[in-house]
Structure formats: C-alpha cells, structure tokens
C-alpha cells in the first residue's frame, strides 16, 4: 500500500531526516493557509493523489507567494475534485538546491534482501536515467532484517563509503550521509516498507533535504502496522476497502464485464483473455483463498453496484475453495436480486476443479449459465452485450 507523501514525510522527520516546512489542506476547503507557512519564498502546491508511476502528474505547481497564488491554488483544487481518493493539497516551502540525488531502499525479489539504490543525478525522468546510464547507479544488497531488532539499522561501513563515493559529494557531507542512511534503514525496517524512496534528495549547505518521498508498505504487515494501514486507506476507494475487509482484492477497470475470480494470477489472466477477445472487464476481483458464501456475495454486490456492468462473469478453479460454495453464493445473491425485480445482469459461471459436480447439480434448475471454459463463456457474454 502506498502512503500519501505528507504522511511519509512526517515519518522521515520523526527519524531525523530533514524535509521542507509544510502545511496541509486535507479537505480542499481551507482558504489561504499558506500564510501559516514560515518564510516568504516560493512554495510548491502538491496534490496528494496516488501516483504509481514516476512521471509528471500535473498536480505539482510552483508558485510565488503573490497575487497569482490564490488562483493557482483554486485551479489545482478544481482539478483534484475528480479524484475521489485525493488526500488534500500539501503546500511546501521551496528549497533552492544545486544537487538532486535519487536514493531508495527496496526489496529485491531475486536476492530476497533489501537493496540500497542511489544515483547522483536524481529528480525528474528518473526511470529513463536508470535505463540510459546503468553504470552510474549504485546498487548493493543490505543485510537488513526486522527480526534482528536493535541491530537492524546497521549498514556495513564499506557500503556507506562506497555509496558516498559514487555520488562525488563534498567530503564534509560524509557524516551526514551516514546518519541519513542509518535513519532510512531503521524506518524501512520498523515501518515494514517494500519501497522507501527519496527523489529528489536535495543538497543544501551541509544538509540533505527530502523533497519528495514514496513510501510503499507491505500489505501483509497490517496486523502490526495499524496506523500506517489507516493512513494508507485514504488512497483506496470504498470498493477496495470493502473488498479488503473480506480478504478480497479489488481494482476498478474501465469496461462492462464484472469479473469475480479466485487467485490473482487467474484474475489477471481472465482480464487479459477478455481484452484479447475485444471485450472489456469492469474490474479485477480476486476473492482469495479464504472466501466464504458471505464474502462472495459481498464481491458480487461490489461488482453489481457499478452502473456500467452489463454482465457478470465468475471464473473459479476449485482447490482450496469449493465450487459448490461459489455456486451457492451466486444462486443466493441473484435469487435475492430477482425477488426485488432488480436483475439487470446475467451471471455466467466458469467452474472447474473441486466441487464442480456439486455446483452443477445446484445450478441445474436455475437460469444461471454454467460454461466449462472461458472460451464458451465468451460466446455467451457476446449474446448479452
């Protein structure tokens, strides 16, 4: 889960890493709060919306504190209103600087360890720079572990020295670099980060300033990172949160075919299949390995609340969950809709694996269609569109 920038920066500050002075308008309705920001220099207005890719979002505006400020603020607010999961506007002092470094800690799936990555030439277009000058990147595995409590922020001395040298920084910054890395590593471990990225990291005088921060926390750590989970939830839609409460993962897509699938891989492959056949999925929904009749009904409810949905496709391969249970949930859900005379969708089921026969018997006297493969289901779907 991705944490809004202002929360991430509050944590950096807690760990002793310098960040620009800022104020936050979390509801987009606080008038001109820039006056409460110390100083009189230029400021950055930063719309707090989930930003997955490292590219210009158009939601970051630089402004002098002059007459034009209010109109810039208002126009940004206007544009942010279309984002249901906008977490507000962060107004930050500008930190003039000469050097912008890229610095991150992340998990590398190949080695299974944390990795330190830095590049002297950070800032904009960083992904292009990764591709175009790989030999300038400093990358090293770190023996960081959560379980080594008390020891976890120890970065081997040679890695500190080597990373520092790779950046060609003035010698007097070395102690500062060392404590920056220690702080970052401690935060990375203690906050269960999968990615902790500062870009740009500005050099001003003898200090480093984190001008932006991308903090991605492990969903699996929610049980011990309760506060972080809550803070990250502002970036999630009501549907995603409702699904998560039932152990499911949901993501909206643009199309008209509501999809309910078990397993992330099969759910992704189902969406790919539909798109390849010029059909358009309305969502991604993985019901997970602990699905129940209740959770599947909740999933169908989330799918059917989407006005664009015209047909519902259920694709389940029984293994840890049983197809009979899936059929039961689908039957109950659509029977209830029928009673209320609200049945704008026709469900089409593709069920295989454990419990298929049970499901077939249950569905025999219903008008719910059971297909034995996705290709036959696609033919059915076309008839309803």
């Amino acid at each position: 889960m991705l944490l809004p920038e202002f929360y991430a920066k509050n944590y950096l500050k807690e760990y002793g890493i310098k960040v620009p002075e800022s104020v936050l308008d979390s509801s987009l309705d606080q008038g001109n709060i820039v006056d409460s920001l110390p100083g009189s220099g230029a400021v950055y207005l930063k719309g707090q919306v989930p930003q997955w890719k490292r590219e210009k979002s158009g939601y970051i505006i630089k402004s002098e504190r002059s007459a034009s400020f209010s109109s810039k603020l208002e126009s940004l607010k206007e544009r942010l209103k279309k984002h249901s999961n906008c977490a507000g506007i962060l107004i930050e002092e500008d930190i003039p600087h000469n050097l912008a470094i890229y610095l991150s800690l992340f998990f590398d799936s190949n080695s299974g360890t944390a990795v330190l990555l830095c590049l002297g030439d950070g800032g904009e277009n960083i992904e292009e720079k990764f591709c175009s000058r790989p030999n300038k990147i400093f990358k090293r595995s770190l023996p960081l572990t959560q379980s080594d409590k008390g020891n976890n922020s120890l970065i081997p001395h040679e890695i500190i020295a080597d990373s520092f040298n790779s950046l060609c920084l003035p010698e007097e910054l070395k102690t500062c670099w060392e404590s920056l890395l220690f702080s970052l590593a401690a935060m990375f471990c203690e906050k269960d980060c999968l990615l902790l990225e500062i870009n740009p990291l500005a050099v001003k005088g003898n200090n480093f300033y984190a001008l932006d921060c991308k903090m991605f926390v492990d969903d699996n750590s929610c049980f011990r990172q309760v506060t972080l989970c809550k803070q990250a939830s502002v970036y999630r839609t009501a549907e995603e949160l409702a699904a998560a409460r039932y152990g499911m993962s949901f993501a909206p897509m643009e199309g008209t075919i509501g999809c309910l699938v078990n397993g992330a891989g099969l759910a992704l492959a189902t969406a790919d299949y539909l798109i390849e056949k010029q059909l358009s999925p309305a969502n991604f929904l993985d019901i997970g390995g602990r699905a129940t009749v209740e959770s599947i009904k909740k999933g169908l409810e989330i799918i059917c609340a989407n006005k664009k949905v015209r047909v519902v496709l259920v694709n389940v391969f029984g293994g840890i969950i049983n197809c009979g249970m899936v059929a039961e949930a689908v039957l109950e859900f659509f029977r209830a809709l029928k009673k209320k005379k609200k049945l704008p969708f026709t469900p089409i089921l593709v069920l295989r694996g454990a419990g298929v026969e049970e499901a077939r018997t249950m569905l025999a006297h219903s008008d719910i269609r059971l297909a034995n493969s996705l290709s036959t289901a696609v033919a059915e779907i076309r008839r309803y569109l």
Partner: protein, 290 residues
C-alpha cells in the same frame, strides 16, 4: 523428480489440526504422500485420523524421522514454526500460508540458505510428483503421471496448467508452485534447473506474474542451460502498472518487472509464449512434437 519429493519422503504437517491443515493434510495422505506426523503446540498426544500429533518439531522428527515439513501455520506464527523445524533438522520446507510479512520472510530466507534448506513458498499451492506424492493444496484428482514439468508463481493458473496437460494426455512429472509473494524460497530458475535434470520431464511450462525479476532470471538460465522445450505464460499483460493486484507484485523500476519485459526476456531465450491461458498445454504439445 524423486530427489525433491517421492512416495517415501517422510513428511510432517505443521498446523495439522487447523481447518486447512486437516483438510489438505489428509488429502495429501490420501494421494499417497507419506505423512508421518503433525506438529501443533499444545495438541501433542492427539491424532488427526491416523496421524499422530506432536507438541514440537523436534519431538516429531525424533519419533517419526520426518525429513520435510508442510506448513499451514497462520502468518503470525509461520516464521517461528519454520525456524523451529529447520533447527531440528528439516531439509525441505513447503509453506502454503499466505500473508507473511515480507521483512520476516526475507530474514527466514537468509536463515534457510545458511542451513542449506530447500524452501518452497510462501503463498504457494505446494509441490507434487504426479502419481506419487504431493505436499500442499493442489487437487489430487487433476494430477496425472506424465512428462510435463510445471513451474508457477500463481496457484490457480498452476491448476489450470495441470488440468490442461492432463486432458491433453501429457500428464505431469513434477509441479512446483514457487509462490506469489515478492520474497520466496525457490526461484523459477532453480525449479527449472530441477526439471531440466529430471529424466521423466520432457517439456516445461513456466507461469509468471508482474513484478520481481524471477522470470527474467529464469530466461537467462534457460537460454544457456535448458534443451527441453519450454512454454511460458505471463498473466497480467493488461494490469494497470504499479497497482498491486492481489498478491501479484507491483514495484517496477524502469521497465524491469513489467509483463512486457518478462515476455521479451522469455521470447529472447527461445521460449514460446502461450497466447492466452486456455492454450498453454496446446502450445507445449505443438512445441514438443516438433
């Protein structure tokens, strides 16, 4: 593939008395796996059907000679349980549990490597040597002894590939679900290495997902070391980039980890990519008959 798992491998089940542990532990036994005991602290002395339950891994190993452990212990206690089993001498660990924090798994992975212990998972459907034994939740009914080796990061797509190869009459030699979490034990590359060496395996299916660099690493290995026909499938070509879809990984650096990069790497290594998931076995059949 008898070197990893066969019908004489002595297996213990950690978390045998839980809902999943009991159901799938007994299913494994029914399939032919040699399940010798269960480990559940506080439940020692009891039985699950005919399987004796012990309080600790050490006791179970001493009494039953267990060499491998199948882990259903809930995420909060998985690391502890595996740690205990490995210290007591277990050499093969298969972790079905999902939801283990990545930082904890990273620590465990380093520890397991130090102890030269093979680990599959977490968040894995398990492994199976078709016709002999299985460890995990792969439905036994769809397995058929044959000549296709399957390596997959996705659980349900593993079943899909098994069913297709069974229906096509090919069957499976060995199935390895490496697991969908960002940090996992055996990599796709290591699994492919086992299948390349295995004499019963004549064709290999590799199923990947977005995120990480497992597929790319495997592609480099296959290009240099694998002579058997290999078919690949990558789910999630149309997934919004960066968004974490279920357990499918999300962190991309540049183009690394994207489906396009994986497909390009696999194709570059001479691997045929199945057009969609319903034709994985067909694609391999065609390739094997050439």
């Amino acid at each position: 593939m008898s070197q990893l798992l066969n019908c004489s491998t002595r297996i213990m089940v950690q978390g045998l008395t839980g809902k999943s542990g009991r159901l799938h532990g007994l299913n494994c036994l029914k399939y032919g796996s040699r399940i010798v005991g269960g480990v559940v602290p506080g439940k020692g002395g009891s039985f699950v059907d005919s399987i004796p339950v012990f309080n600790s891994a050490e006791e179970c190993i001493n009494k039953t000679g267990a060499e491998a452990t199948l882990v259903f212990v809930p995420a909060l206690h998985t690391i502890e349980a595996v740690h205990e089993a490995v210290d007591a001498g277990i050499k093969l660990v298969v972790i079905i549990t999902e939801g283990i924090p990545v930082h904890d798994m990273s620590w465990l992975k380093v520890y397991l490597q130090k102890k030269s212990c093979i680990c599959i998972g977490p968040n894995s459907p398990g492994i199976a040597t078709a016709g002999e034994a299985k460890m995990g939740i792969i439905p036994g009914e769809i397995l058929k002894k044959g000549n296709v080796g399957i390596v997959s990061r996705s659980g349900t797509l593993t079943y899909e590939a098994i069913m297709q190869t069974t229906n096509a009459g090919l069957g499976q030699s060995m199935v390895i679900g490496v697991g969908g979490d960002p940090v996992h034990g055996m990599s796709i590359k290591e699994a492919v290495h086992l299948l390349e060496k295995d004499i019963t395996t004549e064709g290999i299916i590799v199923i990947g997902e977005p995120g990480g660099g497992d597929e790319e690493e495997a592609a480099r290995y296959i290009e240099q070391h694998v002579d058997k026909p290999v078919v690949g499938f990558i789910a999630g070509v149309n997934a919004p980039e960066g968004k974490r879809m279920g357990h499918a990984g999300a962190l991309f650096f540049g183009h690394k980890g994207s489906c396009a990069a994986k497909i390009k790497a696999l194709q570059g290594a001479g691997i045929t990519i199945a057009e969609n998931y319903e034709v994985i076995a067909d694609t391999l059949m065609k390739k094997m008959s050439v």
